[in-house]
């Protein structure tokens, strides 16, 4: 029997074991050429993350260190920060997201072109951290889908590199049918005046 996950993936029925039971993927499943091509593309994607650094808070200090000479994110092919969301693949949410900031984060996510991944950097992005109050979003996964969670306040650079490697592993296992992800499943709550 299939298991259905969440609202956004309701159209996809996923069987334990990982094969998708219906949709176009079924026809292509087992096609050797497509599988090899997919593996090659995944290989390319995992070594070529263009980052969009959504840096808001303290974790930015550690983010600088991760990009700096000692830890050197560039070794994994993820050093090119693109400040235009159109060109970025990996949205690095570095730091606390307040309710005032949330619509902007969602907008940036929606502006990014597929395929796109999200990296929650630091405990504030993961769960809101110890700021459990009126102004802080309790984890960015309430707004946008997240691929890797790296806790820590701020996380040490080693943890960030580990998170990046985990993401690479995840990307290597992806299928064509995982894309596109589409826009973030959120709706405006309060009317915001400009």
């Amino acid at each position: 029997m299939g298991v259905t996950f969440g609202k956004e993936s309701a159209s996809r029925r996923i069987v334990p074991g990982g094969t998708v039971s219906d949709g176009p993927e079924r026809l292509l499943d087992g096609s050797a050429i497509l599988t090899r091509l997919q593996a090659a593309v995944n290989w390319g994607r995992k070594y070529s993350f263009f980052l969009y650094p959504f840096v808001t808070a303290c974790c930015g200090m550690e983010f600088m260190s991760v990009a700096g000479p000692k830890y050197d994110l560039d070794r994994f092919g993820a050093a090119l920060p693109r400040f235009s969301p159109r060109q970025a693949d990996l949205l690095m949410v570095v730091g606390t997201i307040s309710h005032k900031q949330a619509p902007i984060l969602v907008k940036v996510y929606n502006q990014m072109t597929e395929p796109k991944w999200v990296f929650a950097f630091g405990v504030c992005a993961v769960s809101g951290g110890f700021y459990n109050n009126y102004s802080v979003v309790q984890g960015i996964d309430t707004l946008i889908p997240v691929d890797v969670y790296v806790p820590g306040c701020p996380p040490r650079p080693e943890m960030v590199l580990d998170g990046l490697l985990k993401l690479q592993e995840k990307v290597a296992k992806e299928r064509w049918s995982d894309w596109p992800r589409g826009a973030a499943p959120v709706t405006p709550m309060l009317k915001k005046q400009e």
């Binding site: 309710h99 109050n133 009126y134 102004s135 405006p188 709550m189 009317k191 915001k192 005046q193």
Partner: protein
């Protein structure tokens, strides 16, 4: 002692406007009537013996249950005399309006906006009295003691 020169001068100059004074832990403090805050600030800035040219900080304390409920607290600093003073003005909840001191120190602009944002005190004569740290559409003033700490007003999202 020369430490309370400021308070002495203030009491001499504005005998009717000073409600009380103290120097707890060496911090000279004067509680003044809110109607005369602009006049007192101008005096503190311009008097030769005082010259409080820095408006260091402006904040509000919410004494819930006391009347008047709010205290607007000004911290001033004189570079020439290397001296600090704290001026407080009490504002009631029903009439939460006080004169803006932006004409005296232009730097007070954002501090007053923040006080408005967090405590809902209106500063009369302020050039741009609107929220600064929170967003338009946020209801209530979060630093008031009766605002629940976890009462969220999200702009976006199904959750939160």
């Amino acid at each position: 002692m020369e430490t309370n020169v400021t308070i002495k001068k203030l009491s001499n100059r504005f005998p009717g406007a000073i409600i009380e004074t103290h120097s707890h832990r060496g911090d000279d403090t004067a509680v003044v009537k809110k109607e005369s805050i602009l006049e007192i600030c101008t005096f503190l800035r311009d008097d030769e013996a005082l010259l409080y040219n820095f408006m260091m900080d402006l904040t509000v304390v919410d004494y819930l249950g006391r009347e008047p409920r709010f205290e607007v607290v000004y911290h001033l600093f004189s570079l020439r005399h290397n001296r600090r003073v704290r001026i407080k003005a009490r504002v009631s909840e029903a009439d939460a309006i006080i004169d803006s001191i932006v004409p005296v120190w232009v730097g007070a602009n954002w501090f007053e906006r923040e006080a408005f944002d967090m405590y809902g005190i209106t500063f009369k004569g302020h050039p741009e009295m609107r929220r600064i740290l929170l967003y338009e559409g946020f209801e209530g003033h979060p630093l008031r003691k009766d605002y629940p700490i976890k009462k969220r007003q999200p702009l976006i999202g199904p959750i939160n």
